[in-house]
């Protein structure tokens, strides 16, 4: 507490500069932040990480941002990947998070959990991030999720530069990143290359040395013609040690993923646009165990080699009609997903397994109407109908209905209310293929009813927010341990949630954010409540960032009691000159970040480490 008071006092001493040219530039930069053009208040309860926030946070990977989100805890998985777990749920729960780069949804067809593959994605080419929780707009397209994360790339006309960045950390990790962006006449491009060797803390168990070290490469390129088209290409490749593996005594193994996508957006007159996407992902697991890997088809196997791939093709057409106080958006989408099992061997022998349906076609139509009753009151009504048909000729028609009301009650009070009737469709890894549990092709989608409200009070430089919500799920897809597969739960699941936050801007350079959340449900397999504190400061040529993430204690689904977590990180940036910045960041300084139980040991997702970075701009 004393430390917190010290930080607040330090911050309080930093203000009241006269309106110099330098301050005018800062005000101008703030007013021109790109999120002002993309943030959609009617799309849900939104949290924005501006360019300035991400820079000061030294958010090098998506996980650096994800770990701060309310209602979620970042956890390590048995195979060394990371994922977000919704408050109270276990890693086996089905709460898909959607991640978009601009208008492209990153492919999560294989695992149904995009964060597993993209958590370590470098953010050097990203300008800002918007996170929509509870009741996302249907106009984002694709299948629905429980949370939607929109990553917006840097704008070439604002960059006009080539930047490079190199990092090393106290665990021996190395990262090299580059961004090149230019605008010429009506054309522009943005290119990003990101290479990294990720080292993590190793753990020792009775039977194994657990490592999740790995290497990752990433490429992104966008070419645009103003108001005409955008062409985007992205590719990643990642290979890392298998950590706990699928058994209890892993002695060797890795996970190897590759994916590539192309996304074309063509803009026409009168708010009409067409988007075409292709993506391909490949996923390979090699696991060797000294005792046995629990494989459902054949017992007592000690080695698994498997490789799967997914191809996704998508076409979207969208049109907006703006008439006075009314805006109507109409859209249609076709999506084809083709899943392939290229290899499935145990102890070196090909195994024939009756896998689930490998092809899936989805036909979607949606509409959203925003109507301003007057300048202070907006009503949003949305509907989406999705028709699914798989290789087994099993079909279903799903729907989303959503209503929202947003009001500026006066100069200080704002109110948001959303009601949504939605669904979650089972993923390939639940219906079609899994290396270590039985698949269930008969799974049905689950139905979700969501009601959330948020009150926001702003006065002077301070904003208070308070929100409540209730979520009811019928036919939920849950993992049944005795059957070793996902099944539809016959009982209705429900939970309530509350959150509160405060943001105070001391001045243009200095601000503090504090947030608290809690969920109310019957059983908890991950932290039930949590809080965060973020302090952004600038003193002369230095930027400082303090972050404290708290997550409550919990009992894991395996019955292991896990202590509460305090993840404290501190960052400092020194602007040496116009071209060069030196950055220092210490993560999980207290070594008390929230942990996950894997193979009998407690594993922290965030390693305790110090990271040194130098950035040079040409």
């Amino acid at each position: 507490m004393r430390f917190l008071v010290f930080l607040l006092l330090l911050t309080a001493l930093l203000f009241s500069e006269e309106l110099s040219l330098e301050n005018l530039l800062k005000e101008y930069k703030s007013s021109e932040e790109l999120y002002h053009d993309t943030k959609k208040e009617s799309a849900g309860h939104v949290t924005v990480f501006s360019r300035s926030d991400l820079d000061k946070m030294q958010a090098y990977t998506l996980n650096d941002v994800l770990k701060t989100l309310r209602f979620f805890t970042l956890q390590t998985r048995r195979n060394g990947m990371t994922t977000l777990v919704r408050s109270g749920e276990s890693q086996m729960s089905s709460s898909p998070v959607k991640v978009y780069i601009n208008s492209h949804e990153l492919n999560s067809a294989t695992l149904g959990n995009v964060l597993v593959q993209y958590g370590k994605m470098g953010l050097y080419f990203i300008d800002h991030i918007e996170v929509y929780q509870s009741g996302n707009s249907v106009t984002f397209g694709n299948e629905p999720g429980t949370m939607l994360i929109k990553l917006y790339t840097k704008e070439p006309s604002r960059e006009n530069s080539t930047s490079t960045q190199a990092s090393v950390d106290s665990l021996g990790s190395i990262t090299l990143q580059g961004v090149d962006a230019k605008k010429f006449d009506n054309y522009s491009y943005l290119a990003n290359v990101d290479l990294r060797k990720n080292n993590h803390k190793d753990y020792t168990t009775t039977n194994s040395e657990l490592s999740r070290d790995g290497a990752r490469g990433q490429f992104y390129f966008k070419f645009s013609k103003d108001s005409d088209y955008d062409i985007e290409v992205g590719a990643t490749q990642e290979k890392y040690d298998i950590f706990g593996g699928l058994g209890t005594a892993t002695i060797d193994g890795h996970t190897y993923t590759q994916d590539i996508y192309t996304h074309l957006t063509k803009y026409f007159e009168n708010n009409l646009k067409i988007m075409l996407t292709t993506s391909h992902e490949n996923f390979e697991i090699y696991d060797k165990d000294s005792i046995a890997i629990p494989i459902p088809t054949v017992p007592f196997q000690t080695q698994l080699n498997t490789e799967v791939s997914t191809e996704v093709y998508s076409a979207i057409i969208e049109k907006k009609f703006i008439d006075g106080n009314n805006e109507l958006s109409l859209g249609a989408q076709f999506k084809h997903q083709k899943f392939k099992i290229n290899e499935y061997k145990t102890d070196g022998i090909d195994r024939a397994v009756a896998w689930g349906p490998k092809d899936l076609d989805i036909y979607m139509i949606y509409a959203e109407n925003l109507y301003n009753i007057n300048k202070n009151h907006l009503i949003s009504l949305s509907a989406k109908m999705d028709y699914y048909e798989n290789e087994f000729s099993k079909s279903s028609t799903e729907h989303i209905l959503r209503a929202g009301y947003i009001a500026l009650l006066d100069d200080e009070w704002k109110f948001k209310l959303f009601v949504m009737d939605s669904y979650l469709y089972p993923t390939f890894i639940q219906t079609t293929y899994s290396p270590n549990y039985n698949v269930n092709p008969d799974l049905e989608s689950s139905d979700i009813l969501l009601l959330t409200a948020e009150m926001i009070y702003s006065k002077d430089n301070t904003t208070f927010g308070f929100g409540v919500g209730r979520n009811e799920t019928d036919n939920a897809v849950v993992f049944n341990m005795s059957q070793n597969k996902y099944v539809n739960d016959t009982e209705k699941n429900s939970f309530e949630l509350i959150f509160a936050n405060i943001e105070h801007n001391f001045d243009i350079d200095n601000k503090i954010k504090i947030e608290y959340f809690k969920q109310y449900r019957e059983a908890y397999y991950s932290p039930r409540f949590g809080a965060s504190l973020q302090l952004f400061n600038t003193v002369g040529k230095f930027d400082f960032y303090n972050e404290l993430i708290y997550r409550s204690e919990y009992t894991s689904i395996d019955g292991v009691d896990m202590a509460e977590g305090y993840d404290y990180s501190l960052g400092a940036i020194y602007k040496l000159n116009k071209q060069t910045e030196l950055k220092l960041k210490a993560e999980n300084i207290l070594d008390k970040a929230s942990k996950t139980s894997i193979s009998g040991i407690d594993v922290s997702t965030t390693d305790r480490r110090v990271l040194l970075t130098m950035e040079y701009t040409f």
Partner: protein, 144 residues
């Protein structure tokens, strides 16, 4: 392209966005009022919105005719047609214009996501332009 919801419900952001031209004009006003040349500083710009905002200033004089101006704020080099204007000191709004226009002595531009100011020392010296202490921090020796 902004949605109705954005227009109506981001009052703070909208306020900031509406201030774009005003703030840009304030910054340019501050720059121009901190330079001095051998004659009275009279400003003309090819950006009409910007010129309209600058006209509201009590600190600088503006003109609707570039021929009568003594300093030009330029966004698009194709907009200078009059020979009488081509040899006047120019402050540009794109960094690349510094390379293309020998008479340009400074720029206000975006780079790496930030607004920047740069004043080119040899060019202010050759055109007998002096800058105040507040602008000295933006003076550089050459165009990169």
């Amino acid at each position: 392209m902004k949605t109705v919801s954005i227009l109506f419900f981001l009052t703070i952001a909208l306020f900031a966005s509406d201030n774009k031209d005003i703030m840009r004009a304030q910054i340019l006003e501050k720059i121009i009022s901190n330079i001095s040349i051998n004659e009275t500083v009279t400003v003309w710009s090819d950006n009409k919105e910007l010129l309209a905002e600058l006209k509201k200033s009590t600190h600088i004089i503006t003109s609707n005719d570039c021929a009568k101006a003594t300093v030009i704020i330029l966004e698009n080099k194709e907009k200078i047609h009059d020979d009488a204007c081509k040899n006047k000191p120019v402050f540009v709004l794109e960094y690349n214009l510094l390379k293309e226009l020998p008479k340009s002595f400074g720029a206000f531009f975006w780079k790496k996501g930030r607004p920047n100011i740069v004043i080119i020392e040899p060019r202010i010296e050759s055109q007998n332009i002096s800058v105040s202490k507040e602008l000295k921090v933006y003076v550089e020796e050459k165009v990169w």
